[in-house]
């Protein structure tokens, strides 16, 4: 695994995130460590596993009730835990892009989509309106939108989910970040549309040499799309594998997830039901 990593962009060591609630402190992330270079890393887990919180911690976009601690949380040589808010404004979007699940909620509903892309350009790269518009138009073409002139003028409610997500990708890549965090980017999309969006994302990541953190609940999707997979359970990374070797997973949780999936070509009478072992909370991890 180390061979494919080149120089790590992101280093996370012993990250803890806890939430203060009225019933006491809840530990959502408990000692997560990983590095991401110019590669595609998947973080897989079920709801509540801490996968999204891990992604948000990197962007420092946690809700006020959350507290993040780590031995190290750095992007290149920037200490993300100590960076000023001003520095973070440059990092968010400028150096690390974030794509979220549903473009319906992540695009501004009252601004034309083209103007939103251009705004991202001006915010991070400066320049005049004309340059921003030209770049936005070029980016729309890069995400394979066939009629960018027309699409530029549309409002978010006038575009489909797949096109909305391509617009999000365009917005995020325009500032030329080095790392992209995609949190369930295709979960709201139909399967055939998903295929298109992923192949566009894949091509852009390859040609621009980006690092990607792909957060998903979908083990099959991550296995096919990413180079390396981290499996999270109850706030910890319980297993790390090259995506191609997922079949040989050793942690019973990973094995359980694989067995629980209905498959088209391997029909079974019953699906395997996972017996969650309390020992998994603090038991051995496989990395």
């Amino acid at each position: 695994m180390a061979g494919a990593m080149h120089e790590p962009l992101l280093r996370v060591e012993d990250l803890h995130v806890s939430f203060r609630t009225h019933r006491g402190v809840v530990d959502a992330v408990r000692g997560v460590s990983f590095q991401v270079g110019r590669e595609k890393v998947g973080i897989v887990g079920e709801s509540g596993s801490g996968k999204s919180i891990t992604g948000r911690s990197v962007m420092r976009l946690l809700p006020p009730a959350a507290e993040a601690r780590a031995n190290r949380l750095s992007f290149r040589d920037i200490d993300l835990l100590r960076a000023s808010e001003k520095q973070m404004l440059d990092i968010r979007g400028g150096q690390i892009g974030l794509i979220m699940q549903d473009p319906k909620y992540s695009l501004n509903p009252v601004v034309r989509v083209g103007d939103q892309i251009a705004e991202a350009y001006r915010l991070h790269r400066g320049g005049d309106r004309r340059a921003a518009r030209a770049s936005a138009m070029a980016m729309l073409e890069a995400v394979k939108i066939r009629d960018p002139e027309r699409v530029y003028r549309l409002y978010p409610h006038e575009v489909s989910g797949g096109m909305g997500q391509r617009i999000m990708i365009a917005t995020m890549l325009l500032a030329e970040p080095d790392l992209l965090i995609a949190d369930e980017p295709t979960s709201a999309l139909d399967v055939t549309v998903r295929l298109e969006v992923l192949s566009i994302l894949d091509e852009l990541i390859e040609t621009r040499g980006l690092g990607l953190i792909f957060i998903s609940h979908d083990l099959n999707l991550v296995r096919a799309f990413c180079d390396r997979v981290l499996i999270m359970y109850a706030g910890r990374i319980v297993e790390e594998l090259p995506a191609s070797e997922l079949e040989h997973a050793r942690h019973p949780y990973t094995q359980g997830l694989l067995a629980a999936l209905p498959r088209i070509h391997q029909r079974r009478e019953r699906l395997a039901v996972m017996q969650r072992d309390p020992a998994w909370l603090d038991g051995p991890t496989y990395r």
């Binding site: 096109m163 139909d190 055939t192 549309v193 096919a224 997830l257």
Partner: protein
């Protein structure tokens, strides 16, 4: 046409939405039959009309054209209590389909009261037992339950009237895979216990292949192909749209190697929806 063992027979069903100047045919003249005891799948992508078909079957969408027969009886838009009792539905999102401020008990009692059935307490306990929830769950509120438990309550609410037909609208797509496995197993067990006919709507071919005997593939309000699940699994699907759907499901799934370049723009195929 209709034999004794045909549970549902739909013929030339049309559902339109919108005003005079802009009518959209959500369901555009479809027909299919479901045999008693069968699990019939309706597959398609968002907007293809599959959920609308289910809503017509459930009696939730009274404006339609075409013929609908259930258990050999012609069914009109207005239904009697007995028919309502025999067709029950489970919705996609257990967070939205349960009343947040009513206990499980109150929500299970309501259909019994409407139908005027006796032994309500006994029925509630048996229904909860059937979906693997103990009597302790009777006085809980939905916010005290996990997603999987909520969906079990929703299934219990549908089953409590002892229906003949259970309509399942994406019953597991809001659930984690491990919970999905539990709910799908539960649905298989309930069916094995007897007497139920399922119509399952899903966009997930894996779920359809696991659960169904036969399926119909819908796109743009029409059924483009109807086939046995064995044919689907064996790769015997003939319509290009079914093939596209299958290929898309397999590319990122099944542990298969991703196809080098999917060809979504093949001119002979229906365009992926753009707007």
């Amino acid at each position: 046409m209709t034999t004794t063992e045909t549970m549902i027979a739909v013929d030339d069903l049309v559902v339109s939405f919108g005003d005079d100047d802009e009518v959209k045919r959500a369901v555009d003249g479809i027909g299919f039959q479901v045999r008693e005891g069968e699990t019939f799948g309706l597959v398609g992508e968002s907007g293809c009309g599959k959920s609308t078909v289910l809503r017509v079957l459930a009696g939730l969408n009274p404006t339609y054209a075409g013929s609908l027969r259930i258990a050999g009886r012609e069914v009109g838009p207005k239904r009697d209590k007995a028919l309502m009792k025999s067709v029950q539905m489970v919705f996609q999102d257990p967070y939205g389909s349960l009343h947040p401020r009513q206990t499980v008990n109150a929500q299970l009692m309501e259909p019994l009261r409407i139908q005027g059935l006796d032994d309500a307490a006994g029925r509630v306990e048996r229904a909860l037992g059937a979906v693997g929830l103990g009597p302790a769950f009777r006085y809980r509120y939905p916010h005290q339950l996990s997603g999987g438990q909520r969906q079990r309550v929703a299934i219990a609410r549908a089953l409590i009237l002892e229906p003949d037909i259970l309509l399942l609208d994406e019953p597991t797509s809001a659930l984690d895979v491990s919970v999905q496995a539990e709910v799908l197993n539960l649905l298989s067990d309930l069916k094995a216990a007897g007497g139920l006919t399922y119509v399952l709507v899903s966009h997930d071919l894996g779920v359809i292949a696991h659960m169904c005997d036969r399926l119909a593939v819908m796109t743009e309000g029409r059924i483009v192909e109807e086939l046995d699940v064995q044919e689907l699994v064996a790769g015997a699907a003939r319509h290009p749209y079914t093939v596209t759907l299958l290929r898309a499901s397999e590319t990122y799934g099944e542990g298969g190697v991703p196809a080098a370049a999917p060809a979504p723009h093949d001119a002979s195929l229906p365009e992926p929806r753009k707007t």
